[in-house]
Point group: C2
């Protein structure tokens, strides 16, 4: 008769975590205690939507826009949560204040959740809201911000809008992850994926912009409607710079004067090499620099700020 191992009453998790605070089920928790069931459909079917807002120098930036996109995503996925926008703002403020982080990466998530019977019918699951604040992170590190990122155009095609609606921010990233590995193999630091027509789509967590002869273009098909992307449109409009949403071929991107990417995780970030091609002069271009400066200046204006009530 074989001896069976003991059943533990509690999971002891050996993984090290960054600092931070999460919210789940009415409770605020250290990030290391914020866990979802392995049976949650948000995990087992990646049946979830989310958004990420950043806190910079003690204030959220464009939180209302992120909430707008989040609620639209939940509606499209037919999910409901017991919190409205003011309540979520309160929860996010509390997560950040409890974390003490002045610069934070703040994610809020709705998963399909679990059903007590492990039903295959998503309508029987109880949807679940989760939020967390951890230290601010960037796609590009300081050295890359200074000299520009090196990107590779992979032959991977970003998941088509015929399959998954890219305007619903989602966790379907295996194409992007495979792109990253392909880029690393070629000595690059990040990956650019194609759309179903062979044009440039987006990269892992960011939108892509090309500058040519003083005008800017960014793809519009099969990409996330990024909030930082929207901020670039706003800045261009204020500066009188033409900015078009249109297809960009890989060749057009490589022959651009400047290339930059945008993400809540880092803002505007320069790209100075794509595959073996130096972009423009191979260093960060003047319009990229100007827009990046304007982007961070915008953080000081009241219009997009919601301040965090840190304890004294």
């Amino acid at each position: 008769m074989p001896t069976l191992p003991e059943l533990s009453t509690r999971h002891i998790d050996p993984a090290a975590m960054p600092p931070g605070v999460a919210f789940m089920d009415g409770q605020y928790l250290p990030i290391s205690k914020a866990k979802i069931s392995v049976l949650d459909n948000g995990f087992l079917h990646s049946d979830a939507t989310y958004d990420v807002v950043h806190v910079w120098k003690g204030a959220f930036f464009r939180l209302e826009d992120h909430l707008e996109r989040f609620f639209r995503g939940m509606e499209k996925l037919q999910m409901t949560i017991p919190y409205d926008r003011p309540q979520i703002i309160e929860i996010l403020k509390n997560c950040v204040a409890l974390s003490g982080l002045q610069n934070a990466y703040v994610e809020f998530i709705c998963t399909r959740g679990t059903s007590p019977t492990f039903s295959r019918d998503p309508r029987e699951a109880v949807n679940r809201f989760i939020a967390f604040a951890i230290p601010f992170g960037s796609v590009a590190n300081p050295e890359q911000m200074d000299r520009g990122l090196h990107a590779a155009i992979t032959d991977l095609v970003r998941i088509s809008p015929q399959s998954v609606d890219p305007t619903v921010k989602n966790y379907h990233w295996l194409d992007l992850v495979k792109g990253l590995y392909a880029a690393y193999d070629r000595g690059a630091e990040t990956a650019l994926l194609l759309d179903t027509n062979g044009n440039i789509a987006e990269g892992p967590g960011f939108n892509i912009f090309a500058v040519k002869d003083g005008a800017i273009a960014t793809p519009d098909y099969g990409v996330l409607m990024g909030i930082t992307r929207q901020t670039v449109f706003d800045l261009c409009s204020a500066l009188g710079v033409r900015c078009e949403k249109r297809d960009i071929s890989p060749d057009a991107l490589k022959s651009a004067d400047e290339v930059f990417i945008t993400s809540t995780a880092g803002g505007l970030m320069p790209v100075t090499r794509i595959d073996d091609t130096a972009i423009g002069a191979g260093s960060v271009g003047p319009l990229t620099r100007q827009l990046t400066d304007q982007y961070w200046k915008l953080h000081e204006e009241d219009q997009h700020r919601i301040t965090v009530p840190y304890p004294a």
Copy 2:
């Protein structure tokens, strides 16, 4: 000065769970205690692969085949775990034996895991192995097994192999979930998705087969290489029934004599209505019945069985 809420030291989870036992980090746990960090890339990027094997009357069915696919998937995703096949068999046996379940749904998972710094580089994450056993479940309930499922062909396109390799079993299900909601809206019980060429691909967790004039066909492009699908090939070969892997148009499917689906969750399951069309006579067909009987008979043969060492 606003008062901040308390930080809890432990998450109290209100969700009800099915019975079952899980394995994580060397520990066997009640399924209700099996949780992954909200920061795990397996959740936040659906960067994971998995497999599901079933236990029927106290024995695993075709476990070696499921393990083969699982290890191939991890290799393609460049993931590694500290367990080899015999060790995983031991772990799965323990999960099922500890659960006491004679008929079980047994899932094993490798996620990219977490990195202590929340790095965006997947190479810096520590990959994580998880397994669990819960009660056996089926795509079709007993009534549906008896009268046949009603399916709808949606206009959703299953995520393309150009984006995500369908032979790596993965959690990218938002297209399938959207398909389910579309099917429910049309009064159907499950959904069939198209491939990028407009032919039939697969449904939520199952492959599709059509019977016409005594021969069988199943799609081969953009679909999971199902183990139950393989069992149908084996059974057809033994019975001398022709079974082809080829494209099937929606019209060809609707004009089939019989249609059935296959999944580890339920085996072979009849489909007797697609959209407004009755398939064949509108009841479960003779070849579907014969193959279903053979499928369950195969469970009694030693060739595919690994028995579970339940305690006395």
